[in-house]
């Protein structure tokens, strides 16, 4: 008989999250029935193509979506449903408990405010720390992110490169030691080497703080290098979740297999067809019109199914929490 598993309560539990937007062209179903959980100290990557709804999930958790968004479901954090909180409570959580690093640092930063001030502002607003002390703490945070010269904190965003601005964004998001950091395409606009350097610094500070990281990216190799677990999203739905290494070594969902086939080391094999419209998505499995293994059944909706993963440690069966949304399993 198997011994009972002790399951820790997840730090963040997203249950049945659906987001749609009313637009003049129709109702865009940006996220449908998204279920995720994040453990303490874990790095979870949410991967998928542009427009598949990754950032919408982050925006919904943080209540940062525009007014035409219709959000359903739950996002439980610290015993409270984030989606039910009012703006005042949410403002307290944003930055201090859950922070977000946006994808375009040059747009997210105030162009007429010194970067040190922008980081220090978080400390003054949330913790009521004096101006001088908060500026010193901001300089210290920038130093930890590799910007050692003191005068860097007195510079403006336009005096920095994209990579340096991204570090400022990371410093701003981490200065209050949040429990969850959401990094929305932190590598966008940075070249490969710089992206990895920035992510390595971020991961090291995150580990020191004991925070969890939700990494939203379309860079599969970055997700593989940095994350513990990975959730693959297609057209607003999560199609596969599992340990990152396992998903790379043994992808199960036909979309995951096709997506990994596009990687340079796997020969740039294109996925046939194009991503469907989010207004009139295909009925049933949304990938079925492009799937090589499509069957009649695939026109019916499938739920996430637990699949036993591969054995990781020799001689020891390990439950791998692999879940797939496909009729093949």
């Amino acid at each position: 008989m198997n011994s009972p598993q002790i399951i820790n309560a997840p730090l963040l539990l997203i249950k049945g999250l659906s987001v749609s937007f009313e637009t003049p062209l129709g109702r865009v179903k940006a996220a449908e029935d998204v279920c995720l959980e994040m453990q303490d100290g874990e790095t979870l990557a949410l991967v998928g193509e542009t427009g598949c709804g990754k950032s919408v999930v982050a925006g919904a958790i943080m209540q940062l979506l525009p007014h035409n968004a219709c959000v359903q479901g739950r996002a439980i954090f610290g015993g409270r449903d984030l989606l039910g909180l009012d703006e005042r409570e949410m403002a307290r959580i944003r930055g201090s408990e859950i922070s977000i690093v946006f994808q375009n640092p040059s747009l997210a930063l105030n162009p007429i405010m010194r970067v040190g001030e922008q980081i220090a502002e978080m400390l003054r607003v949330h913790k009521n720390i004096s101006r001088n002390r908060s500026l010193r703490m901001a300089e210290d945070m920038l130093r930890r992110l590799g910007m050692v010269e003191k005068e860097k904190a007195r510079m403006y965003p336009f005096q920095f490169s994209g990579g340096m601005n991204q570090r400022v964004m990371i410093a701003t998001s981490m200065i209050l030691s949040p429990r969850i950091i959401i990094a929305d395409e932190p590598s966008k606009g940075l070249d490969g080497t710089l992206a990895r350097e920035v992510m390595a610094e971020m991961a090291s500070i995150k580990d020191q703080m004991g925070a969890s990281l939700l990494l939203i990216t379309h860079d599969l190799m970055l997700a593989k290098d940095v994350s513990d677990r990975m959730a693959v999203m297609y057209c607003g739905e999560i199609v596969e979740i599992g340990k990152s290494r396992e998903i790379f070594s043994n992808p199960l969902h036909p979309y995951t297999i096709a997506l990994l086939g596009c990687l340079p080391e796997r020969g740039f094999q294109p996925i046939p067809g194009s991503s469907p419209s989010m207004i009139n998505p295909p009925i049933g499995c949304k990938f079925h019109p492009r799937c090589q293994q499509c069957r009649e059944k695939c026109r019916r909706k499938q739920k996430m199914t637990k699949v036993e993963g591969r054995r990781e440690v020799p001689g020891k069966d390990e439950c791998t929490d692999r879940e797939v949304r496909c009729w093949l399993y």
């Binding site: 490969g192 379309h218 997506l259 596009c262 340079p264 740039f268 094999q269 294109p270 991503s275």
Partner: protein
């Protein structure tokens, strides 16, 4: 192998300052050749002058030193119709596909604009539009849409289709896939290879991604700040 487009000891410098003029050398002593029906990869770190070199080869910028030759003829000596003919033969596809298209023109109008400039009779526009959409793998349903209503990959296909209408011999591809997802990148790169095979196009592919260059290029040039440091056959380099 015939070199269709050549740069001979090309350099580019910009001046700044109103009173105390200061010269910034971007490129110096660059020599390269794009061969007919082949792909020359151009790699380099950000700011090494890859795009400036591409612009000079496309005739969009003038070099401050050296010469650019197309089919053996110096660009600087070309005038009027001859230069226009060169501009049709050597086309450029840019990094940001959405930015290359007029946001206020529908896809159909964007294509018709090129056909009208080519002085193609309007009665042929429909057929020519259909042909080019088929070549780049786009559906006719998209014709009434605007650039903001189609995906980045579709925009890049359209930008490529507009270029192909001019029946060029050389296409300068400036980071054509760096703004695209990995799945769309794979589609565009495969499409470019198919077009090269079918139409005998020559490419100058500018990229900072070694894997893209490895997949596409027959030869590679590496630019380092200010000058070319090495030129090696692709296999030897990678």
């Amino acid at each position: 192998m015939l070199a269709i487009l050549k740069a001979q000891d090309v350099g580019k410098a910009y001046e700044s300052g109103l009173i105390f003029k200061k010269q910034h050398i971007v490129l110096q002593g660059i020599t390269l050749a794009v061969n007919e029906g082949k792909t020359l990869g151009l790699m380099g770190v950000s700011g090494s002058g890859k795009t400036t070199l591409g612009m000079m080869l496309a005739g969009l910028e003038r070099p401050t030193s050296g010469r650019v030759l197309f089919a053996g003829k110096d660009l600087a000596s070309m005038r009027g119709p001859e230069f226009l003919a060169f501009r049709r033969q050597v086309q450029m596809v840019f990094q940001d596909p959405e930015g290359s298209l007029n946001p206020r023109k529908s896809i159909e109008k964007s294509i018709h604009e090129v056909l009208s400039l080519l002085k193609i009779p309007p009665r042929e526009w429909r057929d020519r539009t259909g042909e080019i959409l088929e070549t780049v793998g786009l559906s006719e349903e998209l014709l009434c849409r605007y650039p903001a209503q189609i995906s980045g990959g579709q925009c890049q296909r359209l930008a490529l289709g507009r270029v192909l209408l001019l029946q060029p011999t050389v296409i300068i591809l400036d980071e054509p896939t760096s703004a695209l997802d990995i799945s769309v990148q794979a589609q565009i790169l495969n499409l470019l290879r198919d077009l090269q095979r079918d139409l005998g196009l020559a490419y100058l592919l500018i990229s900072h991604q070694p894997e893209v260059i490895r997949f596409m290029a027959h030869e590679t040039i590496i630019l380092e700040s200010e000058r070319t440091l090495e030129e090696k056959a692709k296999r030897r380099w990678i």
